[in-house]
Symmetry: C2
Subunit: 442 residues, 2 copies
């Protein structure tokens, strides 16, 4: 028998604010960070890795929350923990005192995501399968039983969800073969960070086109004249056929969003992403009606399945950008995919940050193979940084994610990276904080 012997949670922060990579109208100086969970077992060859993603300060708060969330795992027998992943999720989620701090949102939910992502990684490694293949090993009924249906049964019953999955079973293999050849289509955000100059923007757009991308995304929302100029540059480089997306990172109120997007309509964006508060399903529905045919996309801050349910019910979004480290792991992600399939909304997961690309490739492949069986309107985010810290980084070729084949959820970082960027005691931060102190004295 194998037991869980320890759960380590590490505050890992990468100093991305130094390069303006990741800068947008709302998030000017993020240090991409991970609340990084390692589950150790009595079998020294078997561990699980997972994380939630933050942008710096407060990552320590998530670490404390994840440590508390993980406590019920200690000493548990592995067959028990990974044998019923629905029960494990419900058990960790069931603490009513911690529930008060959400429920199902904010730091506590991020912490649950971090811990359960590691449990899923552990389970997939134990099965010797990459996460997307591990998900295919469950029957439709098993998958639905492990998904969190609390508060969503008014739009999707479990039986309906099972039927939806069953309808795709017989054609799964053909789609796996297809993706094996083509990969899963992605787009790049690396070109359009707000802190980049016009020349850098132009060059990066050209690079994206040359690398085979059909979609490029720009950050907007700080200054309208800048946005017009930058969109014009991007559209010039991309030509008429490629897709341009714009992303405001929640800086507008509803009326302002409608006005601003109207002023950029001439550049024919495929979507406006995060036009306003991520919580505002009604507001997104209003914006969508007003800016059509430009699509509305949101979800990286979509706090839970109940929010996405309302987005779908109100017809608020054209693209669902769920986040693999904000939703409480596969148990909640599957629920959102199932609802999206029922409502016919394509899911284009949020990625970037640190390690999110590694996670979402599994989700997109699972969606195409087992849930939506469609690539229409679907394209998954890819941002080309920080992959060097992962032991099995995602691979992108010709604008598509190559199917991952290593066992697990691709969430493991090199121990050297974790050590160097551990905050505040890792080598990188020790030195930098020491320098800052010296400067303050001088």
């Amino acid at each position: 028998m194998t037991f869980i012997t320890n759960v380590r949670v590490t505050d890992v922060r990468f100093p991305t604010s130094l390069s303006a990579a990741g800068s947008d109208a709302m998030n000017k100086d993020g240090d991409y960070s991970a609340t990084y969970v390692t589950i150790e077992t009595s079998d020294p060859t078997l561990r699980g890795f997972g994380f939630t993603f933050t942008i710096g300060r407060g990552n320590d708060i998530c670490v404390s929350a994840a440590e508390l969330r993980a406590k019920p795992l200690l000493g548990r027998e592995l067959d028990d923990v990974t044998g019923d992943l629905g029960a494990t999720y419900r058990d960790l989620k069931s603490d009513s005192q911690l529930r008060w701090l959400g429920p199902d949102k904010g730091v506590e939910h991020l912490a649950l995501a971090a811990v359960m992502n590691a449990v899923w990684d552990l389970a997939a490694r134990r099965a010797g399968l990459p996460l997307w293949r591990f998900l295919l090993s469950f029957s439709p009924r098993e998958l639905v039983d492990l998904a969190d249906f609390q508060y969503v049964t008014d739009v999707l019953s479990k039986d309906e969800a099972v039927a939806l999955l069953e309808a795709q079973v017989s054609t799964r293999d053909a789609r796996i073969r297809e993706l094996d050849g083509t990969g899963y289509p992605c787009y790049t955000t690396s070109a359009g960070w707000l802190g980049y100059s016009d020349d850098k923007l132009r060059a990066l757009c050209q690079e994206a086109v040359d690398a085979g991308y059909k979609h490029v995304k720009l950050k907007v929302g700080a200054d309208l004249a800048d946005d017009v100029r930058r969109c014009r540059i991007a559209r010039e480089v991309l030509g008429d056929d490629a897709n341009l997306m714009i992303d405001a990172n929640q800086v507008w109120d509803v009326d302002q969003a409608i006005e601003w997007v109207g002023a950029l309509a001439e550049f024919r964006p495929l979507w406006i992403e995060e036009p306003t508060s991520p919580d505002d399903a009604v507001g997104h529905a209003t914006i969508r009606r007003s800016v059509a045919p430009i699509g509305v996309a949101t979800g990286e801050h979509g706090m839970n399945r109940v929010l996405f349910k309302q987005m779908f019910q109100l017809g608020a979004i054209d693209f669902c950008q769920l986040d693999a480290a904000r939703l409480a792991s596969i148990n909640e992600v599957v629920t959102v995919y199932l609802m999206a399939a029922k409502f016919g909304v394509p899911v284009c997961p949020h990625a970037g940050g640190v390690g999110l690309c590694e996670l979402v490739q599994h989700l997109s492949i699972f969606d195409y193979v087992a849930v939506s069986a469609s690539l229409d309107g679907r394209v998954t985010e890819f941002v080309d940084h920080l992959h060097e810290h992962f032991t099995a980084p995602c691979i992108v070729e010709d604008g598509a994610y190559v199917l991952p084949d290593a066992a697990g959820y691709s969430a493991e970082m090199f121990p050297e990276s974790v050590e160097e960027y551990a905050y505040p005691d890792g080598a990188y931060w020790s030195l930098r904080l020491e320098q800052a102190e010296a400067e303050a004295v001088a």
Copy 2:
């Protein structure tokens, strides 16, 4: 000149789980707790006190988050901090790295509430006024300028809000005199905790009637047969004229809520409180349409102004139960009151817990005097426990809150209480944790 010299945040937990006070279908064993903030200044006679409310585990996470949130206050000049309470709020809220962990929800938002509640207490003490009177000292324009209107301008412009407040100015004094005589009406939840026996329920309902209450609330949602029996007992004791409210604390999905409430309709509840997920504005609207004329109430887990905006837009609730320690202090509470007034929804704040009654009495009085100018359908929660720990506890007479007259927000606890119930090192918890350890060994 006076400066902020220190901000202390203490994890205070009261062992309410021992008595089943506070038990309901979702929260079976809460230890009512406060993330308790003390702002110290260079004037030893001037401090500010505030808190957010939690129910035990995870209160330490909120403490860490509040410490981080409060950092920008250290060393600041007091005129600067309390002279523009809108700017102070925006400054504390503006940290984009911490924003990622919400935004505007969960632990980070609770922490902001705790810190800003203490800032408001400090400002009111400095002015020598109870908080409700301090709020009346602002002009309508000043009040609106300090309120957080981000993401709500599509339903309420600042000018509209100013006009709404101005319309009530000339009649304010008459309403203050009225409340001075009658107090602000409240109802009691102390009778109906789920953990209480039928006999205890009957006796407590009778006590409530004898004490002058016109409203009594029962917890429901764990077992339908139990609920029918308990509602029947309560209705028998209350007679036909008094109001019975029922509270499910989020245990149902939407369809289940409609069915269960239908089975209790014969007892003519005034409202069903928290029938489902607090995030589900669309779901509450569906339930409301289905259970009318029974009203729908929610809000104690209403995470922010954007959620309440949608509740109002969708006609989802008959009673808005905002929480003074979950919304990010007066700056966000005022916004919700203004929207509620525009949409004609009565606000009946959530209270109970520890210290919430002390806070919300100020809000209800402010609402009647300056915002809604109405008592129709309004009744504020009152739960009779833990008041003995406060230096200026609320006073309830004949089912009404007596106007508080001590300067501040009534949030200060006796230092002896804070010391005794500090977790885990206070006298109470040290002993109890020692005993638990001894039992574990034996």
